[in-house]
Protein backbone atom coordinates (compact mmCIF):
# COMPACT_ATOMS: atom_id res chain seq x y z
CA UNK A 1 0.00 0.00 0.00
CA UNK A 2 2.80 2.33 0.94
CA UNK A 3 4.57 1.57 -2.34
CA UNK A 4 1.43 2.18 -4.33
CA UNK A 5 0.82 5.44 -2.52
CA UNK A 6 4.40 6.53 -3.27
CA UNK A 7 3.92 5.73 -6.93
CA UNK A 8 0.61 7.60 -7.00
CA UNK A 9 2.11 10.68 -5.33
CA UNK A 10 4.97 10.44 -7.79
CA UNK A 11 2.52 10.27 -10.68
CA UNK A 12 0.67 13.33 -9.37
CA UNK A 13 3.93 15.26 -9.08
CA UNK A 14 4.99 14.19 -12.56
CA UNK A 15 1.61 15.26 -13.94
CA UNK A 16 1.97 18.57 -12.15
CA UNK A 17 5.37 19.07 -13.72
CA UNK A 18 4.05 18.32 -17.20
CA UNK A 19 1.18 20.71 -16.56
CA UNK A 20 3.50 23.50 -15.48
CA UNK A 21 5.65 22.90 -18.53
CA UNK A 22 2.58 23.02 -20.74
CA UNK A 23 1.27 26.21 -19.22
CA UNK A 24 4.41 28.17 -18.57
CA UNK A 25 7.03 26.53 -20.80
CA UNK A 26 9.61 26.27 -18.02
CA UNK A 27 12.40 25.24 -20.35
CA UNK A 28 15.27 26.22 -18.09
CA UNK A 29 13.36 26.05 -14.80
CA UNK A 30 12.59 22.37 -15.15
CA UNK A 31 11.93 20.97 -11.66
CA UNK A 32 13.22 17.51 -12.66
CA UNK A 33 10.61 15.68 -10.63
CA UNK A 34 11.64 12.29 -12.03
CA UNK A 35 15.24 12.60 -10.90
CA UNK A 36 14.10 14.03 -7.55
CA UNK A 37 11.80 11.03 -7.04
CA UNK A 38 14.66 8.74 -7.87
CA UNK A 39 16.93 10.54 -5.38
CA UNK A 40 14.39 10.32 -2.58
CA UNK A 41 13.58 6.67 -3.20
CA UNK A 42 17.23 5.73 -3.58
CA UNK A 43 18.16 7.36 -0.28
CA UNK A 44 15.10 6.63 1.84
CA UNK A 45 13.86 3.22 0.78
CA UNK A 46 15.14 -0.28 1.14
CA UNK A 47 16.48 -1.91 -2.01
CA UNK A 48 13.55 -4.05 -3.04
CA UNK A 49 10.96 -1.50 -2.06
CA UNK A 50 12.85 1.20 -3.94
CA UNK A 51 13.23 -0.96 -7.02
CA UNK A 52 9.50 -1.63 -7.19
CA UNK A 53 8.64 2.04 -6.82
CA UNK A 54 11.22 3.14 -9.38
CA UNK A 55 10.05 0.50 -11.79
CA UNK A 56 6.53 1.87 -11.62
CA UNK A 57 7.55 5.52 -11.68
CA UNK A 58 10.09 5.07 -14.46
CA UNK A 59 7.39 3.62 -16.61
CA UNK A 60 4.96 6.48 -15.95
CA UNK A 61 7.73 9.05 -16.32
CA UNK A 62 8.62 7.60 -19.66
CA UNK A 63 5.03 7.80 -20.84
CA UNK A 64 4.96 11.46 -19.83
CA UNK A 65 8.42 12.25 -21.19
CA UNK A 66 7.67 11.54 -24.83
CA UNK A 67 10.84 9.54 -25.20
CA UNK A 68 11.16 6.52 -27.48
CA UNK A 69 10.06 3.29 -25.73
CA UNK A 70 12.41 2.14 -22.99
CA UNK A 71 14.90 5.01 -23.22
CA UNK A 72 13.68 7.21 -20.38
CA UNK A 73 12.79 4.25 -18.15
CA UNK A 74 16.24 2.78 -18.59
CA UNK A 75 17.91 6.11 -17.83
CA UNK A 76 15.83 6.52 -14.67
CA UNK A 77 16.64 2.98 -13.57
CA UNK A 78 20.36 3.45 -14.11
CA UNK A 79 20.21 6.73 -12.23
CA UNK A 80 18.55 4.96 -9.32
CA UNK A 81 21.36 2.45 -9.17
CA UNK A 82 23.93 5.21 -9.43
CA UNK A 83 22.48 7.22 -6.54
CA UNK A 84 22.06 4.08 -4.51
CA UNK A 85 25.68 3.16 -5.07
CA UNK A 86 26.91 6.63 -4.16
CA UNK A 87 24.88 6.51 -0.94
CA UNK A 88 27.00 3.58 0.22
CA UNK A 89 30.00 5.87 0.48
CA UNK A 90 28.45 9.30 0.98
CA UNK A 91 26.08 10.69 3.55
CA UNK A 92 23.14 12.72 2.27
CA UNK A 93 21.63 13.77 5.57
CA UNK A 94 22.38 17.46 5.23
CA UNK A 95 20.08 19.51 3.02
CA UNK A 96 22.82 21.30 1.07
CA UNK A 97 24.29 17.93 0.12
CA UNK A 98 20.87 16.66 -0.94
CA UNK A 99 20.29 19.74 -3.03
CA UNK A 100 23.71 19.34 -4.62
CA UNK A 101 22.90 15.72 -5.29
CA UNK A 102 19.66 16.72 -7.02
CA UNK A 103 21.66 18.83 -9.48
CA UNK A 104 24.11 16.01 -10.10
CA UNK A 105 21.24 13.54 -10.46
CA UNK A 106 19.42 15.73 -12.97
CA UNK A 107 22.62 16.21 -14.91
CA UNK A 108 23.25 12.47 -14.69
CA UNK A 109 19.78 11.71 -16.00
CA UNK A 110 20.37 13.97 -18.99
CA UNK A 111 23.76 12.40 -19.59
CA UNK A 112 22.33 8.89 -19.38
CA UNK A 113 19.56 9.82 -21.77
CA UNK A 114 22.07 11.22 -24.20
CA UNK A 115 24.27 8.14 -23.99
CA UNK A 116 21.34 5.76 -24.44
CA UNK A 117 19.97 7.78 -27.34
CA UNK A 118 23.33 7.90 -29.08
CA UNK A 119 23.98 4.20 -28.43
CA UNK A 120 20.59 3.26 -29.82
CA UNK A 121 21.32 5.06 -33.08
CA UNK A 122 19.45 8.33 -32.57
CA UNK A 123 20.68 11.56 -34.21
CA UNK A 124 23.72 13.29 -32.79
CA UNK A 125 21.76 16.55 -32.63
CA UNK A 126 20.74 15.42 -29.13
CA UNK A 127 24.20 16.48 -28.04
CA UNK A 128 23.30 20.10 -28.80
CA UNK A 129 20.02 19.72 -26.92
CA UNK A 130 21.89 18.32 -23.95
CA UNK A 131 24.42 21.14 -23.98
CA UNK A 132 21.99 24.01 -24.49
CA UNK A 133 18.92 22.87 -22.60
CA UNK A 134 19.33 19.67 -20.63
CA UNK A 135 22.49 20.40 -18.70
CA UNK A 136 21.74 24.07 -17.84
CA UNK A 137 18.24 23.16 -16.67
CA UNK A 138 19.75 20.82 -14.08
CA UNK A 139 20.51 23.83 -11.93
CA UNK A 140 16.80 24.15 -11.18
CA UNK A 141 16.57 20.58 -9.88
CA UNK A 142 16.73 21.57 -6.17
CA UNK A 143 13.27 23.13 -6.59
CA UNK A 144 11.85 19.77 -7.58
CA UNK A 145 13.75 17.93 -4.87
CA UNK A 146 12.35 20.13 -2.10
CA UNK A 147 8.78 19.57 -3.26
CA UNK A 148 9.26 15.84 -3.79
CA UNK A 149 11.12 15.33 -0.54
CA UNK A 150 8.60 17.17 1.59
CA UNK A 151 5.66 15.40 -0.09
CA UNK A 152 7.05 11.88 0.21
CA UNK A 153 8.38 12.48 3.72
CA UNK A 154 4.88 13.52 4.80
CA UNK A 155 3.51 10.42 3.14
CA UNK A 156 6.04 8.25 4.93
CA UNK A 157 5.16 9.81 8.27
CA UNK A 158 1.52 9.13 7.58
CA UNK A 159 2.15 5.47 6.91
CA UNK A 160 4.51 5.17 9.86
CA UNK A 161 1.87 6.56 12.21
CA UNK A 162 -0.71 4.25 10.76
CA UNK A 163 1.63 1.28 11.20
CA UNK A 164 2.21 2.24 14.84
CA UNK A 165 -1.51 2.49 15.49
CA UNK A 166 -2.08 -0.97 14.05
CA UNK A 167 0.89 -2.48 15.91
CA UNK A 168 -0.37 -0.98 19.20
Amino acid sequence: MHRLATILVGIVLLLLESLLLDLFGLSLWLPHVASALVVYIALEREMFEGCVEVLGLAWVAELLSGSPPGVYALAVTLLFFGVRLSAVRLSYRAWPVRLGLSVVAALGLHALLLIILLMSGHPTSYVTTFALAGAPSSLAAPLGLVVVWLSLERLDELFKRRKNIFSD
Binding site: L15, L23, M47, V60, E62, L63, P69, G70, A73
Partner: protein, 284 residues
Protein backbone atom coordinates in the same frame (compact mmCIF):
# COMPACT_ATOMS: atom_id res chain seq x y z
CA UNK B 1 9.92 -21.92 -6.11
CA UNK B 2 8.35 -19.07 -4.12
CA UNK B 3 11.15 -19.36 -1.60
CA UNK B 4 13.66 -19.05 -4.39
CA UNK B 5 11.92 -15.98 -5.75
CA UNK B 6 11.70 -14.53 -2.24
CA UNK B 7 15.38 -15.09 -1.65
CA UNK B 8 16.44 -13.50 -4.92
CA UNK B 9 13.64 -10.95 -5.23
CA UNK B 10 15.99 -7.99 -5.18
CA UNK B 11 18.14 -9.42 -7.91
CA UNK B 12 15.08 -10.37 -9.91
CA UNK B 13 13.55 -6.93 -9.72
CA UNK B 14 16.86 -5.30 -10.54
CA UNK B 15 17.15 -7.46 -13.60
CA UNK B 16 13.58 -6.63 -14.49
CA UNK B 17 14.27 -2.93 -14.07
CA UNK B 18 17.00 -3.06 -16.66
CA UNK B 19 15.54 -5.79 -18.83
CA UNK B 20 12.08 -4.34 -19.31
CA UNK B 21 13.19 -1.00 -20.74
CA UNK B 22 15.87 -2.68 -22.83
CA UNK B 23 13.35 -5.15 -24.14
CA UNK B 24 10.95 -2.31 -24.83
CA UNK B 25 13.66 -0.53 -26.80
CA UNK B 26 14.46 -3.65 -28.76
CA UNK B 27 10.81 -4.40 -29.46
CA UNK B 28 10.16 -0.88 -30.65
CA UNK B 29 12.74 -1.47 -33.39
CA UNK B 30 10.79 -4.47 -34.60
CA UNK B 31 7.26 -3.24 -33.91
CA UNK B 32 7.15 0.57 -33.89
CA UNK B 33 4.92 2.28 -31.38
CA UNK B 34 3.78 1.56 -27.86
CA UNK B 35 2.54 -1.84 -26.77
CA UNK B 36 -0.84 -2.55 -25.28
CA UNK B 37 0.11 -1.98 -21.63
CA UNK B 38 1.72 1.36 -22.45
CA UNK B 39 -1.32 2.45 -24.42
CA UNK B 40 -3.60 1.44 -21.57
CA UNK B 41 -1.56 3.46 -19.12
CA UNK B 42 -1.47 6.41 -21.48
CA UNK B 43 -5.23 6.21 -21.84
CA UNK B 44 -5.49 6.30 -18.07
CA UNK B 45 -3.13 9.24 -17.72
CA UNK B 46 -4.51 11.32 -20.56
CA UNK B 47 -7.86 12.14 -18.89
CA UNK B 48 -5.96 13.12 -15.75
CA UNK B 49 -3.75 15.41 -17.74
CA UNK B 50 -6.70 16.81 -19.65
CA UNK B 51 -8.63 17.36 -16.42
CA UNK B 52 -5.70 19.06 -14.75
CA UNK B 53 -5.12 21.19 -17.84
CA UNK B 54 -8.80 22.11 -17.98
CA UNK B 55 -8.78 22.97 -14.29
CA UNK B 56 -5.72 25.14 -14.52
CA UNK B 57 -6.90 26.71 -17.76
CA UNK B 58 -10.20 27.49 -16.10
CA UNK B 59 -8.42 29.12 -13.18
CA UNK B 60 -6.10 30.91 -15.58
CA UNK B 61 -9.07 32.08 -17.66
CA UNK B 62 -10.93 33.15 -14.55
CA UNK B 63 -7.85 35.02 -13.48
CA UNK B 64 -7.37 36.69 -16.83
CA UNK B 65 -11.05 37.46 -17.43
CA UNK B 66 -11.98 38.57 -13.96
CA UNK B 67 -9.12 39.20 -11.56
CA UNK B 68 -6.81 40.67 -14.19
CA UNK B 69 -9.70 42.68 -15.63
CA UNK B 70 -10.11 44.30 -12.28
CA UNK B 71 -6.53 45.41 -12.57
CA UNK B 72 -7.25 46.42 -16.15
CA UNK B 73 -10.10 48.59 -14.97
CA UNK B 74 -7.86 50.25 -12.45
CA UNK B 75 -5.16 50.60 -15.07
CA UNK B 76 -7.68 52.05 -17.49
CA UNK B 77 -8.80 54.57 -14.91
CA UNK B 78 -5.20 55.40 -14.13
CA UNK B 79 -4.44 55.90 -17.83
CA UNK B 80 -7.50 58.11 -18.23
CA UNK B 81 -6.29 60.26 -15.40
CA UNK B 82 -2.84 60.31 -16.92
CA UNK B 83 -4.24 61.38 -20.31
CA UNK B 84 -6.31 64.06 -18.63
CA UNK B 85 -3.29 65.27 -16.69
CA UNK B 86 -1.13 65.29 -19.84
CA UNK B 87 -3.79 67.18 -21.78
CA UNK B 88 -3.99 69.72 -19.03
CA UNK B 89 -0.22 69.96 -18.92
CA UNK B 90 -0.06 70.29 -22.70
CA UNK B 91 -2.64 73.07 -22.65
CA UNK B 92 -0.71 74.76 -19.87
CA UNK B 93 2.56 74.44 -21.79
CA UNK B 94 0.99 75.85 -24.93
CA UNK B 95 -0.29 78.71 -22.81
CA UNK B 96 3.17 79.23 -21.35
CA UNK B 97 4.72 79.21 -24.81
CA UNK B 98 2.20 81.72 -26.09
CA UNK B 99 2.65 83.88 -23.04
CA UNK B 100 6.39 83.66 -23.51
CA UNK B 101 5.99 84.84 -27.09
CA UNK B 102 3.78 87.73 -26.01
CA UNK B 103 6.09 88.73 -23.19
CA UNK B 104 9.04 88.55 -25.54
CA UNK B 105 7.17 90.95 -27.83
CA UNK B 106 6.47 93.26 -24.90
CA UNK B 107 10.12 93.14 -23.89
CA UNK B 108 11.18 93.98 -27.41
CA UNK B 109 8.74 96.87 -27.40
CA UNK B 110 10.16 98.12 -24.12
CA UNK B 111 13.68 97.91 -25.53
CA UNK B 112 12.65 99.72 -28.70
CA UNK B 113 11.05 102.54 -26.73
CA UNK B 114 13.31 103.02 -23.72
CA UNK B 115 12.09 106.58 -23.21
CA UNK B 116 8.64 105.36 -22.22
CA UNK B 117 7.88 104.50 -18.63
CA UNK B 118 5.76 101.42 -18.87
CA UNK B 119 3.63 99.71 -16.30
CA UNK B 120 2.75 96.15 -17.22
CA UNK B 121 -0.81 95.02 -16.72
CA UNK B 122 -2.83 91.92 -17.46
CA UNK B 123 -6.26 91.81 -19.09
CA UNK B 124 -8.72 90.27 -16.65
CA UNK B 125 -12.08 91.10 -18.22
CA UNK B 126 -13.85 92.49 -21.27
CA UNK B 127 -16.92 94.53 -21.83
CA UNK B 128 -20.27 92.87 -21.36
CA UNK B 129 -22.23 95.24 -23.63
CA UNK B 130 -21.85 95.62 -27.37
CA UNK B 131 -21.82 99.39 -27.10
CA UNK B 132 -18.48 99.94 -25.51
CA UNK B 133 -15.04 98.65 -26.22
CA UNK B 134 -13.48 98.47 -22.81
CA UNK B 135 -11.03 96.11 -21.13
CA UNK B 136 -10.37 95.71 -17.45
CA UNK B 137 -6.74 95.23 -16.55
CA UNK B 138 -4.85 94.47 -13.37
CA UNK B 139 -1.40 95.89 -12.77
CA UNK B 140 1.27 93.22 -12.62
CA UNK B 141 3.37 95.04 -10.03
CA UNK B 142 2.30 97.88 -7.81
CA UNK B 143 4.20 101.11 -8.34
CA UNK B 144 3.27 103.78 -5.81
CA UNK B 145 5.45 106.49 -7.39
CA UNK B 146 3.45 106.56 -10.60
CA UNK B 147 -0.17 105.92 -9.86
CA UNK B 148 -2.39 105.03 -12.77
CA UNK B 149 -4.64 107.86 -13.90
CA UNK B 150 -7.28 108.34 -16.56
CA UNK B 151 -6.06 109.37 -20.01
CA UNK B 152 -2.84 107.42 -19.74
CA UNK B 153 -2.02 105.63 -22.97
CA UNK B 154 -2.21 101.86 -23.07
CA UNK B 155 -0.06 100.01 -25.57
CA UNK B 156 1.10 96.55 -26.43
CA UNK B 157 4.02 95.30 -28.50
CA UNK B 158 1.66 95.30 -31.50
CA UNK B 159 0.70 98.94 -31.12
CA UNK B 160 -1.79 101.27 -29.49
CA UNK B 161 -4.50 99.66 -27.39
CA UNK B 162 -6.38 102.61 -25.99
CA UNK B 163 -6.40 104.81 -22.94
CA UNK B 164 -7.23 104.48 -19.28
CA UNK B 165 -10.68 105.78 -18.48
CA UNK B 166 -10.93 104.60 -14.88
CA UNK B 167 -8.29 103.58 -12.37
CA UNK B 168 -8.77 102.13 -8.88
CA UNK B 169 -6.11 100.48 -6.79
CA UNK B 170 -4.40 97.93 -8.95
CA UNK B 171 -7.16 97.83 -11.55
CA UNK B 172 -7.93 100.02 -14.51
CA UNK B 173 -10.54 100.22 -17.27
CA UNK B 174 -9.07 100.76 -20.70
CA UNK B 175 -11.07 102.25 -23.55
CA UNK B 176 -9.94 100.71 -26.81
CA UNK B 177 -9.25 102.81 -29.89
CA UNK B 178 -12.17 100.93 -31.46
CA UNK B 179 -14.58 102.47 -28.97
CA UNK B 180 -16.76 105.20 -30.54
CA UNK B 181 -15.63 107.56 -27.78
CA UNK B 182 -11.99 107.18 -28.75
CA UNK B 183 -10.17 109.81 -30.88
CA UNK B 184 -6.50 109.31 -31.67
CA UNK B 185 -4.43 111.82 -33.56
CA UNK B 186 -2.57 109.84 -36.20
CA UNK B 187 -0.34 110.32 -39.21
CA UNK B 188 0.32 108.19 -42.27
CA UNK B 189 3.79 106.78 -41.71
CA UNK B 190 4.62 106.95 -45.42
CA UNK B 191 3.21 110.38 -46.41
CA UNK B 192 2.91 112.00 -42.99
CA UNK B 193 -0.71 112.91 -43.78
CA UNK B 194 -2.57 113.65 -40.57
CA UNK B 195 -6.04 112.64 -39.41
CA UNK B 196 -8.08 111.42 -36.47
CA UNK B 197 -8.79 107.73 -35.90
CA UNK B 198 -12.25 107.38 -34.37
CA UNK B 199 -13.56 104.08 -33.13
CA UNK B 200 -16.54 102.60 -34.94
CA UNK B 201 -17.73 100.33 -32.17
CA UNK B 202 -18.83 97.63 -34.57
CA UNK B 203 -20.14 94.51 -32.99
CA UNK B 204 -18.05 92.08 -34.98
CA UNK B 205 -14.75 93.84 -35.33
CA UNK B 206 -12.57 96.51 -33.79
CA UNK B 207 -12.31 98.82 -36.80
CA UNK B 208 -11.85 102.58 -36.64
CA UNK B 209 -12.51 105.36 -39.08
CA UNK B 210 -9.83 107.76 -40.22
CA UNK B 211 -11.42 111.21 -40.43
CA UNK B 212 -10.39 114.82 -40.88
CA UNK B 213 -7.93 113.80 -43.55
CA UNK B 214 -7.52 116.43 -46.23
CA UNK B 215 -8.63 115.44 -49.72
CA UNK B 216 -5.33 116.46 -51.16
CA UNK B 217 -3.40 114.14 -48.82
CA UNK B 218 -2.12 111.05 -50.51
CA UNK B 219 -3.01 107.85 -48.74
CA UNK B 220 -3.05 104.27 -49.95
CA UNK B 221 -4.48 101.05 -48.72
CA UNK B 222 -2.06 99.13 -46.52
CA UNK B 223 -0.46 102.38 -45.37
CA UNK B 224 0.46 102.20 -41.72
CA UNK B 225 -0.82 104.81 -39.30
CA UNK B 226 1.12 105.90 -36.24
CA UNK B 227 0.37 108.28 -33.43
CA UNK B 228 1.31 111.88 -34.07
CA UNK B 229 2.07 112.73 -30.45
CA UNK B 230 -0.51 115.49 -30.53
CA UNK B 231 -3.57 115.43 -28.33
CA UNK B 232 -1.79 114.94 -25.05
CA UNK B 233 -2.38 111.23 -24.52
CA UNK B 234 -0.36 109.04 -26.87
CA UNK B 235 3.40 109.36 -27.40
CA UNK B 236 4.72 109.73 -30.94
CA UNK B 237 5.30 106.95 -33.42
CA UNK B 238 3.21 104.24 -31.86
CA UNK B 239 1.59 101.99 -34.46
CA UNK B 240 -2.17 102.39 -34.57
CA UNK B 241 -3.24 100.33 -37.54
CA UNK B 242 -3.41 99.87 -41.29
CA UNK B 243 -5.66 101.53 -43.84
CA UNK B 244 -7.87 98.85 -45.34
CA UNK B 245 -10.19 100.95 -47.52
CA UNK B 246 -10.45 104.57 -48.66
CA UNK B 247 -13.64 106.54 -49.17
CA UNK B 248 -12.45 109.30 -51.48
CA UNK B 249 -15.23 111.72 -52.42
CA UNK B 250 -15.14 114.21 -55.28
CA UNK B 251 -16.52 116.99 -53.13
CA UNK B 252 -15.80 118.37 -49.68
CA UNK B 253 -12.56 119.11 -47.88
CA UNK B 254 -11.85 115.76 -46.32
CA UNK B 255 -11.60 112.13 -47.22
CA UNK B 256 -12.15 109.13 -44.99
CA UNK B 257 -10.63 105.70 -44.65
CA UNK B 258 -11.21 102.56 -42.67
CA UNK B 259 -8.47 101.51 -40.29
CA UNK B 260 -7.82 98.04 -38.98
CA UNK B 261 -6.05 98.28 -35.63
CA UNK B 262 -2.67 96.63 -35.47
CA UNK B 263 -3.54 95.09 -32.11
CA UNK B 264 -5.62 91.94 -32.06
CA UNK B 265 -7.93 92.96 -29.24
CA UNK B 266 -9.64 89.61 -29.23
CA UNK B 267 -6.47 87.90 -28.04
CA UNK B 268 -4.94 90.64 -25.99
CA UNK B 269 -3.70 89.45 -22.61
CA UNK B 270 -0.81 91.69 -21.55
CA UNK B 271 -0.53 95.45 -22.01
CA UNK B 272 1.62 98.35 -20.92
CA UNK B 273 0.25 101.50 -19.38
CA UNK B 274 2.44 104.46 -20.37
CA UNK B 275 2.97 106.26 -17.09
CA UNK B 276 5.47 108.78 -18.41
CA UNK B 277 7.98 109.76 -21.05
CA UNK B 278 11.54 110.87 -20.42
CA UNK B 279 11.93 113.08 -23.48
CA UNK B 280 10.04 116.28 -24.26
CA UNK B 281 6.30 115.87 -24.39
CA UNK B 282 5.82 113.73 -21.33
CA UNK B 283 2.26 112.47 -20.99
CA UNK B 284 1.68 111.54 -17.39
Amino acid sequence: MLDLIGRYKVIIIMVLMVALPTLSMALSRIVPGRHVVDRAMLMALAPLQAGAHFGVSFIEGFWQDYIALRDLKQENESLRQEISRLREERARLIGVLQENKRLRGLLDFQQQRPELKLQPARVIAREITPYFRVLRVRLDTGDASTPIKPQMAVVSHEGVVGQVIEAYDEYADVMLIADPRSNVDVIDQRTRARGIAIGLGHKRDYEARLSYLLRKDEINEQDQLVTSGKGGIFPQELIVGTITSIDSREYGLNQQATVEPSVDFGRLEEVFIVTGEETAGVRP
